[in-house]
């Protein structure tokens, strides 16, 4: 699934927003909030920082809508704004700092063994993701979680396709190692 196939009607909504109907922008926000929110949460690692980045990206996109050259690809253009915003958040330290607090709270509230196991796996996944270099994490998430094509990722990130493929491959190798290490702790 690429970006193009999830945004039928974006061009019309963008046209209406440009004509002064900001209610149409509400529809665009509703359409993209969950998908982009997932990327921001995984990329930044801290929910509050991620939601701030997401909100800021939506507002920036609205203010720059005149610069969206292809309204039919509004989603891809918005992704690009969010990707850049996530890069500047610099929240890796926040991710490490807050992860333990949240996990302690979550684990204390878990009573059933299955629930405990799910929380531990979720925690393992987030820790492994946090250990990746940002450019590896970015490429891995966009390719495998957001399911974008390499051509789309190249447009969003400004990186070449061969470099992106290398990042994704390295990310997978490292994640495999991190996850297996965690299994033996």
């Amino acid at each position: 699934m690429g970006i193009d196939r999830v945004e039928a009607g974006d061009a019309e909504l963008v046209r209406r927003v440009r004509a002064g109907d900001i209610g149409a922008y509400g529809a665009l926000v509703a359409r993209y909030r969950d998908r982009l929110g997932r990327y921001a949460v995984h990329m930044i690692g801290d929910r509050e920082d991620a939601e701030e980045a997401l909100q800021d990206s939506f507002v920036r996109a609205y203010r720059s809508l005149a610069r969206c050259n292809d309204p039919a690809r509004f989603g891809a253009w918005l992704y690009g704004i969010l990707v850049n915003r996530c890069r500047t958040t610099g929240a890796r330290a926040a991710r490490r700092r807050r992860l333990f607090v949240r996990d302690a709270d979550a684990l204390n509230g878990a009573s059933h063994p299955d629930q405990m196991e799910r929380l531990e796996w979720t925690d393992t996944v987030e820790r492994a993701l946090a250990r990746l270099a940002p450019e590896y994490r970015e490429a891995f998430l966009l390719k495998h979680v957001e399911d974008l094509e390499y051509e789309e990722i190249a447009q969003l990130t400004g990186a070449g396709i061969s470099a992106l493929k290398m990042r994704v491959m390295r990310a997978r190798e490292q994640l495999q190692r991190f996850l297996r290490e965690a299994e033996h702790v």
């Binding site: 900001i22 209610g23 509703a30 909030r33 993701l129 996850l179």
Partner: protein, 165 residues
């Protein structure tokens, strides 16, 4: 026992593809911010329907509260307009610290499901909520939650005269 090579990564990918819960108030905060761009605040009292374009935007979101200065004066407290989009409601009242939580003191008027009222507020921090149909208590999804509500019902906070106003 080890999983097959990369199976553990595929399992991780399935985990990461699950939906992530995003604060439901985010949409309202975005729309409030861009509404401020679209409708620069002019001094003086304005009828509710002059603000219709951004209220229409709020309607997309189901229920949104917008509190913003309406009339500014050097010797009068700011007047704040509170808006709740609730197309299905038959009555809505604004209740808060500023009216002793008395629904009868700030009934809201409706236009096409957009309920609004204006309340003068002196500088300070106020908890507030909306009483819908006389029974349903609603907080503002786009405003900070009041964490110190001793009654156990959801409420929000508006701060006048500070950064949050």
């Amino acid at each position: 026992m080890f999983e097959q090579e990369d199976d553990i990564v595929e399992r991780m990918i399935r985990q990461l593809r699950r939906p992530v819960a995003i604060d439901p108030g985010l949409d309202a905060r975005v729309m409030r911010e861009i509404a401020d761009d679209a409708q620069p605040q002019a001094p003086g009292r304005r009828p509710l329907l002059r603000a219709w374009p951004w209220l229409a935007a709020a309607a997309v979101l189901g229920a949104v509260v917008i509190a913003r200065p309406w009339v500014r004066g050097s010797d009068n407290p700011d007047a704040f307009q509170f808006v709740l989009v609730a197309p299905q409601a038959s009555s809505v009242s604004l209740v808060g610290d500023f009216n002793d939580w008395d629904p009868a003191r700030s009934p809201m008027q409706t236009a096409h499901g957009v309920w609004a009222t204006v309340v003068p507020l002196a500088p300070g921090r106020y908890r507030y909520a909306f009483l819908v149909n006389g029974i349903e208590w609603r907080a503002d999804p786009g405003a900070p939650a009041a964490g110190d509500d001793e009654f156990g019902t959801p409420s929000s906070v508006v701060t006048v005269g500070g950064e949050g106003s």
